[in-house]
Symmetry: C3
Subunit: 157 residues, 3 copies
């Protein structure tokens, strides 16, 4: 068994995404191959901050409008208080010199962490490739399972 | 180490249950042995849709009445809006030809995915065997751990 | 690969913490080495019930005041109804002779389950060592990954 790590990023909550990215960055820094498989709410983490013009039907527009657009917009899973909690958390992390989500994503990508986006979730939620940040791969559950089988650490976050 | 997968199905949220069942079906289709261990809220996924007459004390009745009865009744973990979100999601999945939860459960069972229900959780929540769908096994945490140790992918959903 | 189990305890919800501790106790009873890595909301599980005098800045005081102080104070992830759900659940578990959270923590520690607290999370949330129960270790993500790599079961709860 190789020294790989595979993390399913299902959640789109600031705190959980933070945990996933810190583990991924840590593992990559220690020399492991890391794959993150973004699915469902997790895909929102990878949306570009600005609105991208793409063709969507009514439901896709609704979903796209209701879900957070990118890593800067995520809320906490607990004590979010309409965004106040997330702001407080980000303020504290800045003071404590903890990296922000966009910084963690960038450093993960620079260290070669493979980020795969679940194509079925994209289809269901009406998210298009053009709306997501660069440097991603696009695949389905079979691809995830192939990576997971070769990993010595598997997490679902 | 064998090619087994073991998934703890703790959550009873439509979106998470969907993720767990898609991974389980995918793995089974690729020839892996798969065990799903349903515990806590996850057990609601396996409840029959219609009310079954069983003897329950007051608290068990309360719990049984408050929890969703079966895979058709689950809500989303986010943006559920009193069931509206779940309906929207199911509507979209139908249009995109994604299998429904009951279909995913059926296909998993047909491909031999082993579904174990946590007996301690059943006892705590007052759920009886007669209230659950057919084809399940009943066991405790030791049985789960036995399966998990032999697996090359372990997830807690 | 050794017979180790490693569990990330991210959640501070009564039901999820219960699941994590039951798996940890079960594995330890079956002879496995078990490491629990408490991070983020999970750290609240280990807070002492009584208020401890420590120096904190304003934000740390706010966080400390809003988060539950110890295993007795946790709420359910679903159907908590401002604490009513958690009380009901604890009442039922008592009647069914299921161990309480403090009992599960104690038995885990007595069986040698290693409990590591994430120092970065402590720093962000302003939790000090003096506020936590005895018998804990303090380390970061690299230490977690070291344990996880040697484990045949890895969970994120």
């Amino acid at each position: 068994m190789s020294d790989k790590k595979t993390i399913v990023m299902f959640s789109g909550d600031l705190d959980k995404v933070m945990a996933g990215l810190i583990i991924a960055n840590g593992a990559a820094a220690m020399g492991s191959e890391v794959t993150m498989f973004f699915t469902f709410w997790g895909i929102n983490v990878l949306r570009k901050a600005k609105k991208i013009k793409v063709k969507k039907d009514f439901m896709e527009k609704m979903f796209g409008w209701m879900m957070p657009r990118g890593a800067e917009k995520l809320g906490l899973s607990k004590m979010n208080f309409g965004g106040m909690g997330a702001l407080m958390m980000k303020d504290i992390m800045k003071k404590k010199n903890v990296n922000t989500l966009p910084e963690l994503i960038e450093s993960a990508q620079m260290m070669g962490v493979k980020m795969i986006v679940c194509t079925m979730s994209m289809d269901v939620m009406g998210i298009k490739e053009a709306e997501l940040i660069d440097g991603l791969e696009f695949a389905g559950v079979a691809s995830y399972l192939g990576e997971a089988e070769e990993s010595n650490v598997n997490l679902f976050i």
